[in-house]
């Protein structure tokens, strides 16, 4: 819910000053210049692939499913026009799942569940090339640029991801069956970084010269190290697919 509220707040923050700006930069259905920059915010759902063995173990022992690692996502990008169909975008996203769970198979000596919270947080920062499959708009003279109504696109890029996989709460020591409280984290100081790649596709619906709605689907691939708190596991699977709706503003 916080992510959804944040998205709404950012979209409103974008729209309110833009409304005042619109009269200065746009006429009746056209901009006074070819836009060189597009700013977008988007919100949607990001599903985690959760394909590595650490997820297998967690979901086997705790009352978690792999889909629990999916979450609402918030993102935004700044696009710089390269050609009429090609755009360079600098993209950031944020998704965070946090679920309480208990051991599937154990309770404590008071018959109470042994509870913990598992958090999976991903913040990808990528640079992408977005190829519009139709012209984004049409210049007429030097003072009018008319956006196309629908513009599909595909794209891809690379970047880094700040990620965190953390479990806080009570755990069972399988050697002693003791229940202990701990904080298992990706790194001692929290986050770690990994290289990621992503591919995307979507369509923009331009409902005004300045603004458009974006339906976006993307798949991000990456794997990252797990810290010493998760010893012996493969690299954690950071991959996932996401779908989002966005609001874009041309400048």
């Amino acid at each position: 819910m916080n992510v959804a509220r944040s998205f709404l707040a950012i979209a409103l923050a974008m729209a309110i000053p833009a409304g005042a700006l619109s009269a200065q930069v746009a006429g009746n259905g056209y901009l006074f210049h070819t836009p060189s920059v597009t700013v977008s915010v988007r919100g949607g759902y990001s599903a985690a692939t959760a394909g590595s063995d650490v997820f297998d173990d967690v979901t086997r022992q705790l009352t978690l499913n792999k889909r629990d690692f999916g979450s609402l996502t918030l993102g935004g990008d700044v696009g710089f026009r390269i050609t009429s169909k090609l755009e360079l975008t600098l993209d950031a996203g944020y998704s965070r799942s946090s679920h309480k769970s208990e051991f599937r198979n154990f309770v404590d000596n008071n018959d109470l569940p042994i509870e913990q919270t598992t958090t999976f947080e991903r913040i990808p920062l990528t640079a992408n090339l977005k190829l519009h499959l139709a012209p984004t708009g049409r210049s007429i003279g030097r003072l009018a640029w008319i956006p196309s109504r629908f513009v599909p696109y595909v794209g891809g890029g690379v970047g880094v991801m700040s990620y965190r996989f953390r479990q806080q709460g009570d755990f069972v020591d399988f050697n002693t069956n003791a229940v202990f409280t701990s904080n298992l984290d990706t790194q001692e100081d929290g986050r770690d970084w990994a290289f990621v790649q992503q591919a995307m596709a979507g369509v923009e619906y331009n409902f005004s010269p300045m603004f458009g709605l974006t339906l976006d689907a993307r798949y991000l691939h990456g794997r990252g190290n797990l810290g010493t708190a998760f010893t012996g596991y493969d690299r954690i699977d950071l991959s996932g697919a996401s779908a989002s709706v966005g609001l874009s503003m041309r400048l």
């Binding site: 009269a23 200065q24 930069v25 006429g27 009746n28 259905g29 056209y30 006074f32 210049h33 049409r138 007429i140 003279g141 030097r142 003072l143 009018a144 008319i146 010269p209």
Partner: protein, 414 residues
């Protein structure tokens, strides 16, 4: 039988002639020359169309001819006919031969018969030039005479405005009597001719004459447009050049753009009247009327148009400052002339960039040159009497006196 047959043939002939006349009457869709019929005097941009005509100086009187398509342009100065020219807008190519220049001229009506598109090609002293022009009536009833001249690789646009001079005393009686008969119908026809135009007229004009002339015409009409994206696409797909659509966009968004005539600093052939309050420079040309360039009679705008450097990063754009070749579409030669319309991005008001430098105080670093962006002319401006226009000076020199705007300066507080 023969008599009956003859009567039948005669009756048929009368019927046919009547039908043809009626058909011709019905085919007429616009006021044609009726809006132009009258006497005209040079008018400065922004000058009220309703102020009284000057008591002296040349005027052009347009009188109808036997043909609906043709009218006679007679220049009268001090009660004497200086010259007469017939303009035939039937589309027929007419040879012209005057002042050592030879060529052809062709004039046609617009589809609504409210404007005339004129083309000419001439050779004067081995110099070839072509002209395309629009003769139109503005919303305020002024006659706009807009010429785009190409000579060698040089393009030039020149505009002249004329306002109704009434029927001045001392007009040759044969002209005065014709005009008195037509004065009432001319008024209505002038209103019809000056009514607002739409995109169809812009498309037609763009196909008929040079885009520079069309752009200047749109600006000089001072009509508020409201073109939307759909109209712009329609215009573009009809082949209307960007220079024309830019003017339409600017005229449709007066809160953002201001169409203006940029001043031309060195126009030696004109008298510059300066309206300091409006930062607008108007030039009057003391040039006798020439039969092949009636536009050079009075006020022209030797004022270049260019983009200002204000606003949204359009930079100092411009369509270029075209040198004036000195050849009108006719053969007399124009004086002055101006560049195509510019669009000034006002963004509220013009601002220059400056900075405050330690030890030096404030300093201007970029832009903000005064006088380059003129305000849209208003109807309250009354220019000084056009004494130079009646001076009868030679057509090559014009009047040379000028007054310029004083730059704003500071002095110590007393």
């Amino acid at each position: 039988m023969n008599v009956t047959m003859k009567r039948c043939v005669a009756a048929f002939g009368i019927l046919a002639a009547t039908a043809a006349a009626a058909g011709a009457q019905q085919a007429r869709v616009g006021p044609k020359w009726q809006g132009w019929v009258g006497c005209w005097t040079a008018s400065a941009p922004g000058e009220s169309a309703f102020i009284s005509a000057p008591s002296s100086g040349p005027i052009v009187c347009i009188t109808p001819s036997a043909s609906d398509d043709a009218a006679d342009f007679t220049t009268v100065d001090s009660g004497k006919v200086v010259s007469t020219q017939r303009i035939d807008a039937s589309g027929a190519e007419v040879p012209v031969d005057a002042k050592g220049c030879k060529g052809v001229q062709r004039a046609t009506w617009s589809a609504d018969e409210r404007r005339i598109y004129l083309h000419s090609a001439s050779t004067c002293d081995a110099v070839k030039s072509t002209t395309s022009a629009i003769l139109a009536i503005s919303a305020s009833g002024e006659w706009l005479d807009i010429h785009a001249v190409k000579s060698y690789d040089s393009d030039n646009v020149r505009v002249a405005r004329y306002r109704d001079a009434g029927i001045p005393a001392g007009l040759p009686p044969e002209i005065a009597s014709v005009l008195r008969e037509r004065s009432a119908s001319s008024e209505a026809a002038r209103m019809a001719a000056g009514a607002d135009i739409g995109t169809a007229a812009v498309i037609e004009a763009s196909r008929a004459v040079d885009s520079l002339a069309v752009a200047a015409w749109l600006m000089e009409r001072e009509q508020h447009f409201n073109v939307d994206a759909k109209a712009l696409v329609q215009l573009a797909e009809a082949g209307v050049p960007g220079a024309v659509t830019d003017v339409l966009v600017a005229a449709s968004n007066p809160g953002v753009f201001q169409l203006a005539r940029a001043s031309q600093q060195n126009d030696r052939s004109t008298t510059i009247y300066t309206d300091a309050g409006q930062r607008r420079r108007v030039s009057a040309m003391g040039v006798p009327y020439d039969p092949w360039s009636w536009g050079s009679l009075g006020y022209g705008y030797p004022l270049g148009y260019g983009f200002s450097s204000l606003g949204y990063g359009y930079g100092t754009l411009g369509y270029g400052r075209y040198g004036y070749g000195g050849y009108g579409y006719g053969y007399g030669g124009y004086y002055g002339g101006y560049m195509p319309p510019i669009i000034v991005v006002t963004n509220g008001q013009a601002q220059s960039r400056g900075q405050m430098v330690k030890g030096r105080g404030y300093t201007q670093t970029q832009g903000g040159s005064t006088g380059t962006a003129s305000e849209r002319p208003r109807s309250t401006y009354t220019p000084p009497p056009p004494s130079s226009a009646s001076s009868g000076s030679s057509s090559s020199s014009g009047s040379s006196s000028s007054s310029s705007e004083s730059p704003r300066t500071a002095k110590p507080r007393p």
